[in-house]
Point group: C2
Chain length 254, copies 2
């Protein structure tokens, strides 16, 4: 039970990004909003399935999910962000005191879930090789609004050799519930990204000769919606610091 | 624009089941509930994707959907049901007077959408051959509840020759957003269905020698949830009398 052990260490206070941990286990983004915003958040996911594929939704106030029975969503992720009126109020390894009885938590698919499949196919995953967080960028691609919720899409980036891009697209495309195939290959400026060296979230990674940057939709997208829409209160994971679930990644492979 | 022509004839008052009409166009179930129930209905779909795959959700009060620009959800289906406190209050070809400003409409995938693919593969679709409605049955399979919403799954049934069942499963399985592969093959009593001759919705069709009944999850399932949960108000299509969309069925093929 490597997943449970890792969650236990996060509960005990360890803080680190989760890419590369517990290979074969799906990972998930967390966004919890007040019940009054829950319909719009769920609809935001329904209308934007590439960045916001909803894997599970808790009952109001419940910190428990079928994706990881026994896990506590308030403590078992390595790092959290607490948002007030669309602004980052706090970053904390323990969200217990931030949890509220009216919070509805959404578990959103995470592209870390198909990285084991990329590695198994011989595709290097740069941030795993370097032991750092994946680089993530805000883009100029608008999501389809849902009521009061609106905002741009966030993407994660992996440098891929030109000759392996089709393979990476094919493999990740088999995992639509965890972001699926890339949304863009090549020019960052097409997405409104000024510089790959300055990711909005996570760590920069080097691009080598013969590689192109390949962009996947990212589950940090709801956090941008929280900012853009001034959501009065939200608790999320910190980018790259995910819930490690008990669900095998193959469950999301079609 | 065969889809628009059919919608126009329904708007003018024609009443008939839509199976077999506008081959190549996806069809959709309709369920509209008050905004106060919208989160639970959307969550019911998220938690029960086989019977309730959500294709689109309207803004509150809006009778318009991206699935069929120009269509009016209040008039362009052949037949509607109006529900009060979980009971059928009215069946009508025009839901204009039943529509309310607080209604949120959900368009749910319909298995009619993969019938053209079945026919193209040489699989007879009995209710199309007979020019009647598909038989639909309530089952003893409970859906996963969502807040106040609960109820059993409804299935549609098509008789399929034993030697074609694998093919029918493979073809329909490529269309997960419109119910996908069968949920059951063979014994109706396993699902709590007492007699195939008495469908709960639609028309009975004969089973021939060498055929087994094959059951698919059905988008009438939300109507059973309306009944079981005592939803105070809802407007739905009448079973088998669907929205014919402008979306090609291939859009939902994976």
């Amino acid at each position: 039970m490597i997943a449970a052990q890792l969650r236990s260490s996060f509960r005990a206070g360890e803080v680190r990004p989760t890419a590369g941990l517990a290979p074969g286990h799906a990972q998930a983004n967390l966004i919890a909003v007040p019940r009054d915003w829950a319909f719009e958040m769920l609809l935001y996911g329904q209308r934007n399935p590439r960045p916001c594929p909803v894997l599970d939704v808790t009952d109001p106030g419940s910190p428990f999910t079928d994706l990881a029975p026994g896990a506590d969503l308030r403590t078992d992720l390595p790092l959290y962000r607490v948002w007030r009126d669309g602004e980052l109020a706090e970053e904390t390894p323990d969200a217990t005191s931030a949890w509220r009885d009216d919070l509805v938590a959404f578990l959103i698919g995470c592209s870390f879930s198909f990285e084991a499949a990329l590695l198994a196919a011989g595709i290097d995953v740069r941030h795993i090789a370097l032991g750092c967080n994946v680089p993530m960028y805000r883009t100029n691609v608008a999501c389809r609004p849902a009521g009061r919720l609106h905002g741009g899409m966030v993407v994660s980036m992996r440098p891929i050799p030109a000759g392996q891009i089709a393979l990476a697209a094919t493999i990740s495309g088999r995992f639509p519930a965890v972001h699926g195939a890339p949304v863009h290959v090549g020019s960052p400026s097409d997405l409104g990204i000024a510089s790959l060296d300055s990711p909005d979230f996570g760590d920069a990674v080097p691009l080598r000769d013969g590689e192109l940057p390949v962009f996947w939709a990212c589950g940090v997208t709801p956090q941008v919606a929280v900012m853009a829409s001034g959501v009065p209160y939200a608790v999320t994971h910190s980018p790259g610091h995910m819930l490690i679930t008990d669900v095998p990644d193959t469950r999301y492979q079609v």
